[in-house]
Amino acid sequence: MRSILINRKRILILTLEILLLLFSLLLIFGPMTSLVLWSIADKWFWPNPVPQSIGLDYWKQALGIQKSLAIGAVSIVPAFFLSLMIAVITVVIAMAIAIPAGYALAKYKIPFGTFILFLFLMPNAFPQQPIFVNLLDTFTKIGLAGTVPGVIIVHILVGLVFGVWITSATFKSIPVQLEEAARSVGANSLKTFFRISLPLAAPGLLASSVFVFITSLDEFTGTFFIGLPFVITLPMTLYSSSGYNMQFASVIAIILLIPSILFMTLIQRVLKAEYVGGMG
C-alpha cells in the first residue's frame, strides 16, 4: 500500500518536471519557431494554426535570387554587407580605444577611475532617444548626419561600454605578479604587455569584441536618428517591413540572429567564467 503511494508521488513529481521542462522550452524556442514558420509562409491567415501554404519566396527575394514586386520584399544583401562593414569597423576602432583604456583603468590608480568607467555607461544608462536627437543636431551641423562615419561613431559610443568594461575586468583578473615576474626576468613593460598580459587577456578581449560586434549589428535607435534615410542597415530594413510584411521581417530577424548565435557559441568555448564574474 505504502509503496504504491510512494510510486504515485514519484510519478506526479516526474510529470510536473516534464511539464515544466516543456514549458521552459516553449518559452525559449516558441518565438523562434514562430519566426521560422513566418519566414517560409506564403499564406497564413487567421485563424489557421499553421500556414496555408509554404515556400521560400521571401527568402529568395531577400537574398536577391528572385525579383517579384508582388510580395513587397526587397533584397537585403546590400544592407547586410553595409551592416557587416559598419560592425567590423566599429569593433576595430572600439577595441583600439578599449584595450589601452581598459588596461589603464585596471592596472593604474587613475584619479576618478570609477567615474571614467561610469562615463562609458552613459549612452546606455539614459533613454537613448533624447541623446541621439541631440546628437543629430550636432552631427547635422558638422555634416556627419546621414553618413556611414556618423553611424559608426554612434555604434562606437554605444558599444564602448562593453569594450571598456569587459576589457578592464579581464586585465584586472590577471594577477600583477605574473607581470612582475616577467619584468624580473628582463622583459620591459612593452614586452611584458605583449608577451604576458595580452595573451592572458585574449579570451576576454575576444568576448568583448564579440559584444561590440553584436551590439553594432543590432543597433537601432542611433542608426535610426543619425543614419536614416541614407544609411540603411539590416535593423532598418527590418523595422520598415515589420509593420506590414511579417514574412520578410522574419527572414531578416533570422539572418540577424545567425551571427549572434555563432559568436555566443564561440564565447562560451573560450571565455572563462571568472572574466564575467570579475566585472564591475
Binding site: 605574473l178 612582475e180 619584468r183 624580473s184 626576468v185 628582463g186 614586452k191 595573451p199
Partner: protein
C-alpha cells in the same frame, strides 16, 4: 660574486612608515632572512630591492653599483613569489626560456640551460607540462628554476612556502637550503615563519614596524634576544614583568610586584629599570617534589600549579601558574604532571634573558 647593500631606506604610505631607515648588507653567497609579522615592512623592503617600489629616501647597491633608479628588468634580480606566478599560457619549458629569450640567448643554449635548470630542482621530466598540471610544490620549484636559470646576482624569495601544506613545507625548506648551497647565489628570503627562518638562514634580520629589531645568526637571536619583541617572536616565550632590584656579579635580579625574585642575564640593563624576564618552555625544569629537597632556598626555585595540561605527542605541554604569572613548560611523556598538581620548578638563570620592555 654579488653583494647587496641597502642604505637608510625610508618608505612611507601616507602617514604610515612602512620602512624606517633600514640598513642592510648581504654578503656574497649569504642567505639572509627578513623575518617579522605581517605589516612589519619585509614585503615592502623586498619590493624596493626588486624595483617595483621606489624608496622615499635611501639607496640600493649591488656590487657597489647604485641601482636605486634602475627599472626592475635591468637589475639582474631573480624573484620567487608566494603564489608562484608561473605564466599559465606557457609550458614549463617556455616559462624557463622566457627570460633567456629576452636576453637574446641562442636557441641551443636556451635548451641546454633550461634542462640544467630543471635538473637543479629535480623536474627534468616536466618541461612539456603546463603549470596547471603541476602540484603546488612542483610549481614552486619551477618558479625557483625560472629565477635561477638566469643566474641572477641576487635571488629574492617572498614567502615562497606559505601556500604549501605543512609536510611539503618542511621538505621544501631543505630543498631551498640545498639549492642555495649548490648555486651559491646571494639570497634574501622573506617569511613570517620563525622555524623556516631558523632552518635555512645564515643570518636572520627581525623587523617590526619597519625597523630592524635584531640581526644575527639563528642561534644568537634565539638564545640572546635583544628585546621583548624578538623574544616573543622567536619561540613560545612567556614573560614575567618586574623591576631590576640589583645586579649581582653575572646575574641581574628582577623583583615582581607580587614578591618573586628571579635571577637572569641582563644586558646593558640598570638597577631600577622596568624589565621582563623571558621564559622559554624548554628552560623550565621540573624538580622532584620530595619534602626535604636540599635545594630548597636556592635561587630560581619556585612552587607552581599546573593550570592546563595537553598531550601533543612527543611531550606534554603545560601552562603553569607561579603566583600571578602564567608560564608555558613541557615535560617528557613519562613524567606527566596532572592538572591541578603542585610542582617545583627550576629556572636556569643562565638561560633567562632579562629585557627592557
Amino acid at each position: 660574486m654579488s653583494n647587496l647593500k641597502l642604505l637608510s631606506i625610508v618608505k612611507k604610505y601616507g602617514r604610515v612608515i612602512a620602512v624606517d631607515n633600514l640598513n642592510l648588507e648581504v654578503k656574497d653567497g649569504e642567505l639572509v632572512t627578513l623575518l617579522g609579522p605581517s605589516g612589519c615592512g619585509k614585503t615592502t623592503t623586498l619590493r624596493i630591492i626588486s624595483g617595483f617600489l621606489s624608496p622615499d629616501r635611501g639607496d640600493i647597491y649591488i656590487n657597489d653599483r647604485k641601482i636605486t633608479d634602475i627599472p626592475p628588468e635591468k637589475r639582474g634580480i631573480g624573484l620567487v613569489f608566494q603564489n608562484y606566478a608561473l605564466w599559465p599560457h606557457m609550458t614549463v619549458f617556455q616559462n624557463l626560456a622566457f627570460g633567456l629569450q629576452m636576453r637574446k640567448t641562442p636557441r641551443d643554449e636556451i635548451v641546454e640551460r633550461v634542462k640544467q635548470g630543471l635538473k637543479t630542482v629535480r623536474l627534468e621530466e616536466y618541461e612539456k607540462r603546463y603549470p596547471r598540471e603541476l602540484s603546488g610544490g612542483q610549481q614552486q620549484r619551477v618558479a625557483l628554476a625560472r629565477a635561477l636559470v638566469l643566474e641572477p646576482d641576487i635571488l629574492l624569495l617572498d614567502e615562497p612556502l606559505s601556500n604549501l601544506d605543512a609536510l611539503l613545507r618542511e621538505k621544501m625548506r631543505f630543498e631551498i637550503a640545498r639549492i642555495h648551497r649548490e648555486s651559491g647565489v646571494t639570497t634574501i628570503y622573506v617569511t613570517h615563519d620563525q622555524t623556516e627562518a631558523m632552518v635555512i638562514s645564515d643570518r636572520i634580520v627581525i623587523l617590526n614596524k619597519g625597523k630592524v629589531m635584531q640581526e644575527g645568526k639563528p642561534k644568537e637571536i634565539y638564545e640572546k634576544p635583544a628585546n621583548k619583541f624578538v623574544a616573543s617572536f622567536m619561540g613560545n616565550t612567556s614573560f614575567i614583568e618586574g623591576i631590576v632590584k640589583e645586579i649581582d656579579g653575572n646575574y641581574t635580579i628582577l623583583e615582581t610586584a607580587d614578591g618573586l625574585t628571579i635571577h637572569g642575564i641582563g644586558n646593558g640593563i640598570k638597577r631600577g629599570d622596568r624589565a621582563v624576564i623571558a621564559v622559554r618552555p624548554e628552560n623550565v625544569q621540573f624538580l622532584p617534589t620530595s619534602k626535604n629537597d636540599s635545594r630548597e632556598g636556592y635561587f630560581n626555585i619556585f612552587s607552581a600549579k599546573v593550570e592546563r595540561e595537553s598531550y601533543i605527542g612527543e611531550v606534554f605541554d603545560y601552562q603553569l601558574k607561579i603566583k600571578n604569572w602564567s608560564i608555558r613548560a613541557k615535560s617528557s611523556v613519562a613524567n606527566e604532571k596532572p592538572r591541578g598538581s603542585e610542582v617545583k620548578i627550576y629556572l636556569d638563570p643562565d638561560k633567562m634573558p632579562i629585557l627592557i620592555e
